[in-house]
Symmetry: C2
Subunit: 195 residues, 2 copies
């Protein structure tokens, strides 16, 4: 590699490290509690490169982290759905995967974007829009699976809103109670509804 | 009134003002973004009295605000349920009331405690516990209404978890999208399920 290519690769690696670290901190503690110095320290990337990659600072970095986390969960949804025999099993599989992640993180890692969505919906048009786009991408994946199961487009879109809302809410209740019960209850209720 | 009684009454008024102001700020922007100086300025109560009433500072004040907001919504649920003819109408009425509050606040005033629950679940046992208690009190009210509609205790508790989760999640999606659609979808889906 030339020196320029090496520098470029190392720059890209720093950028990805900033995004991954920010996504993890936003998921666990939200936007306001996450400072740039904490992001730099936790990422291990050189501080000077943060404003090089993200001249817009924390908001721009958070927007990239939300987009990245949104795409990652959308891919995870596709993977879970691909191995499910029917709609009920697909949704149950998604809830099981999220419940496992929540328990493995000692009830810190719930929805990667919900905290920021609630904190910043009123004050940051950029972050509000990025969270809405991520939610929409998950809704599209769920609605597509429901349509494949036989629902009309309108019914599938409406039911996808119920499914995602129930999952998002159960992730809040499960974190507050440090208890997977809400996710299990939603899993069972939805399985019955979707069967 | 004696001077002591006047002072006591004014002290109680300051305490209530701090709690009401904090509850409103926590609902709109969360815990980390809300500073004590903002609370003092917005409440109009004397700054010196804050640590008199809340020697534990911001965390203690937030805990009182969460408890107060939790009780207020529990009472609102009871009022809405009391005027509903059946279970489906009761849940629809609750969602309508929350949707109206959200729209009236320009999509800033969603669930009064969800943001704090997500932000602080991992780091403040006190606030985690207070949010869990508030959620439980709402779940109890919903489960009681479902039992009155004919469900067994176990089924009512499970379905109450679906109902509250779906409402909490729809409030997130509605804020992110600045759109009442998710609440309307959940309202219609639940009405069908509960009919």
């Amino acid at each position: 590699m030339t020196e320029t290519a090496t520098a470029r690769r190392s720059g890209a690696a720093s950028r990805e490290r900033f995004i991954a670290t920010t996504a993890r901190l936003l998921q666990r503690q939200g936007y306001a509690a996450t400072g740039l110095s904490e992001i730099v320290a936790a990422s291990g990337a050189p501080k000077g490169s943060l404003y090089f990659h993200f001249p817009g600072g924390k908001e721009e970095l958070a927007a990239a982290a939300i987009a990245s986390a949104g795409a990652q969960l959308r891919d995870a949804i596709a993977t879970v759905f691909a191995s499910a025999d029917d709609v009920a099993a697909a949704i149950a599989g998604l809830i099981d995967a999220l419940a496992a992640g929540l328990a493995a993180s000692d009830y810190r890692g719930g929805c990667p974007i919900a905290t920021v969505a609630l904190e910043r919906a009123g004050d940051s048009p950029l972050l509000r829009e990025r969270t809405a786009q991520a939610f929409d991408s998950w809704l599209d994946a769920i609605a597509a699976r429901l349509r494949a199961g036989g629902l009309s487009r309108a019914r599938a879109e409406r039911r996808a809103l119920l499914v995602l809302s129930a999952i998002e809410g159960a992730l809040i209740l499960a974190r507050a109670g440090r208890d997977p019960g809400p996710l299990q209850a939603v899993r069972e209720e939805l399985a019955e509804l979707l069967a």
